[in-house]
């Protein structure tokens, strides 16, 4: 093929691509304007189709409202970025927001969420688990109607503990003692958890921190508790799990949810800290540990409390939406118990409403419900993401031996204080 033939081919090809592009663009014409109100919501991938069918049900009840369910990326961060950029550009197309619990302070502080406190009176909140309501508030006002709940739990091998005549551990000392007693590494470890440098590490840490009676950030005063003895003890405990106590595999410092779950699922750990989804996987037909596990609250010390990091989604309304009343109808509809139950049946997502657990025969669900009573949200400060980043880095440094727990926590505290404004513009130290 001569050079000029290549050129002619190229020119023709370019013309064709351009024309095809124009046609393809034209074919995707917008829907003709109707007398309907259209509500848009950016959602996670709806692989089971249950959400689409719920929206269709809603449309049947409200014929003049059309719900545009946009499926976004599976990554929570990815969807958060999409929401943020659309809000910042001032032309957000979204009316309803499928909001993760960590987004509430951030979006509310940015002025993008409609304050629902007046629309949704407090007596209505009683049907929800208290922790999720806390996780939907910012500065005392409520911005999100919760839908589901995720919480960190301690899974344990019931069969192994029963055989040794042990009860599930209440304190960290119990956890260590039973682990040492029952484990024989490397085929069976004591305690699997998430030690990688990411948000999950912080979730694990909060539970230990509260267990030791410590505090991270008090959003009301922006006081930072990371260099207090309790925080240093909590960090030291996690590090010692791999080191001094030897109850966790050294690789735990690289684990996120999946590797830790896989270890436990293969029957190679006595205890695991993880989210509710691990239960569903453990009960699969081919799971080696099916029927052998129990769930309990994360341990504590006498000076602390049982704590379980709160996760989960809910629905908020965009402050700039022109259809807030219709959006509110949709939100109320989706969060009614029958609709919520449908989602649970299709996807296994656990509902945040008390009624769901009241007469549920499944003992595992009841055990989880006990854990849900101890949920704590991550610090509800708008700058949570940056605070989490600081803590993650220093925790990871402590776990991998790059810094001592004390130095790591002191550095983390210092950086966090530089990050957060002191309340009411005065320096917190004064």
């Amino acid at each position: 093929m001569g050079y000029s033939s290549v050129q002619s081919f190229a020119i023709v090809a370019m013309r064709m691509i351009f024309i095809a592009g124009v046609f393809a663009g034209c074919n995707r014409s917008e829907k003709p304007a109707q007398d309907k109100v259209e509500l848009s919501i950016l959602f996670a991938p709806d692989s089971t189709g249950v959400w689409r069918s719920l929206c269709a049900d809603f449309e049947k009840q409200h014929p003049n409202i059309h719900v545009n369910l946009i499926e976004g990326t599976a990554s929570t961060n990815g969807r958060e970025d999409q929401y943020v950029t659309s809000f910042l550009s001032g032309q957000s197309p979204y009316d309803v927001i499928y909001a993760d619990v960590t987004w509430v302070p951030k979006f509310a502080a940015g002025g993008w969420l409609e304050d629902l406190t007046d629309r949704w009176p407090a007596d209505n909140w009683a049907r929800f688990i208290p922790g999720v309501i806390e996780g939907s508030k910012y500065k005392g006002r409520i911005y999100r109607v919760p839908f589901d709940i995720g919480a960190g739990m301690l899974y344990y091998r019931k069969d192994l503990l029963d055989a040794a005549g042990e009860k599930p551990p209440e304190t960290f000392d119990d956890l260590v003692r039973i682990s040492k007693e029952l484990q024989h590494p490397p085929s069976l470890w004591g305690f699997a958890w998430q030690g990688q440098q990411y948000e999950g590490l912080v979730c694990d840490y909060i539970e230990i921190l509260k267990g030791f009676g410590g505090d991270w950030i008090d959003p009301a005063t922006n006081a930072v508790g990371l260099d207090q003895p309790a925080a240093i003890q909590a960090t030291t405990f996690l590090r010692d799990c791999m080191g001094k106590y030897g109850i966790s595999p050294p690789g735990v410092a690289t684990y996120d949810e999946e590797p830790s779950r896989q270890l436990f699922n293969a029957g190679r750990a006595v205890f695991m800290r993880n989210w509710p989804y691990a239960w569903v996987k453990a009960q699969a037909a081919d799971s080696p540990i099916k029927g052998k596990i129990g769930i309990t609250r994360v341990p504590m010390t006498p000076g602390g409390a049982h704590a379980s990091t709160l996760g989960g989604y809910g629905f908020s309304i965009s402050k700039s939406s022109p259809h807030k009343d219709q959006a509110w109808l949709l939100v109320q509809f989706l969060t009614q118990l029958p609709q919520a139950k449908q989602v649970y049946l299709n996807t296994g997502t656990l509902i945040a409403q008390k009624a769901f657990y009241d007469d549920n025969p499944d003992p595992a669900i009841q055990q989880m419900y006990q854990v849900f009573q101890t949920t704590v949200p991550r610090p509800m400060t708008p700058q949570y993401a940056q605070a989490s980043d600081i803590l993650q880095r220093h925790l990871s440094a402590a776990l991998t031996g790059l810094e001592s727990p004390e130095d790591a926590m002191k550095e983390a505290a210092k950086e966090t204080r530089l990050l957060l404004p002191a309340a009411s513009g005065k320096r917190a130290a004064e």
Partner: protein, 274 residues
């Protein structure tokens, strides 16, 4: 003789290396899913399939992406050529005051990565409510390409012999007429070369396109494609992604084949004047 062979070998290895990732995307985009996931890799697929291409256009407004890219790149190119040729002529021929200042600021601007300008430009977009409007990208692209365009065109205009303009002046043509009827046609090759480079640079820009265009139908093909694969590692549709890579880059490949010599001329001219 051996040296010659080694030379050829090295050059052809280099050539292959230059096109390899792209060629691999072409092959992947034509494979069926089982062959994509086959280990060890299948290099010559047994079953060719266009399914990924049709999936692509069905799931995403890819035609719109291409159209947007085309409009924005062409718009930036035309506007930038216009502005830069006026400025270049002014600096080269008319020895305008402030010309040196302009050239200096242009060189300094060219050294900054676009993240430096990004946020204030974003603020401007918000204030003027031009998010998702092509103009929000065209104007910054013109600015980013001005340094290169002005430098190249200035040196070009300096090389045009004076007698051409002197003759035109004697013929009684006004300055504007000289500029547009005599100089510009002469500059056509330089304008074409510079124009192609501006087009390519605008097509490839990512940071602003990603942030300023939030609505799916307003995205350029570069931002649209990159957001296809941007999330977690589970369930990434590698077939359609490969198809999208091929489609979004095909126009550029064609440009390169068509205008290879010009592009190299333009790049080296810009470099030596810089």
């Amino acid at each position: 003789m051996k040296k010659r062979l080694l030379l050829h070998l090295l050059v052809w290895t280099f050539t292959l290396w230059c096109v390899a990732p792209f060629a691999w995307q072409i092959i992947t985009s034509l494979k069926s899913n089982p062959e994509i996931a086959a280990v060890p890799n299948v290099y010559l697929p047994k079953h060719l399939s266009l399914e990924h291409y049709s999936t692509l256009f069905w799931r995403k407004p890819f035609g719109r992406y291409l159209l947007n890219s085309f409009l924005i790149s062409a718009g930036s190119m035309i506007l930038c050529l216009f502005v830069s040729s006026l400025a270049a002529y002014s600096v080269a021929r008319l020895h305008v005051r402030g010309g040196k200042l302009l050239l200096l600021s242009l060189v300094i601007i060219a050294l900054f990565p676009s993240i430096v300008f990004f946020f204030p430009l974003y603020e401007l977009v918000r204030i003027t409510h031009t998010a998702n409007n092509p103009i929000a990208l065209i104007l910054p692209y013109v600015t980013f390409n001005l340094p290169f365009a002005v430098l190249v065109l200035t040196s070009f205009f300096r090389s045009v012999p004076l007698d051409v303009e002197e003759a035109a002046k004697l013929d009684g043509l006004s300055r504007l007429q000289i500029l547009f009827r005599i100089i510009m046609p002469l500059a056509a090759p330089a304008l074409a070369t510079t124009g192609i480079l501006i087009f390519i640079a605008s097509w490839n820009e990512f940071l602003l396109a990603l942030t300023f265009m939030t609505r799916d139908t307003a995205k350029t093909v570069t931002a649209g494609v990159a957001s296809l694969g941007g999330s977690s590692s589970y369930d990434i549709p590698w077939g359609p992604i490969a198809a999208s890579v091929v489609i979004s880059t095909l126009p550029l490949i064609l440009l390169v084949i068509l205008f290879q010599r010009r592009i190299i001329q333009g790049l080296t001219a810009g470099a030596s004047k810089g």
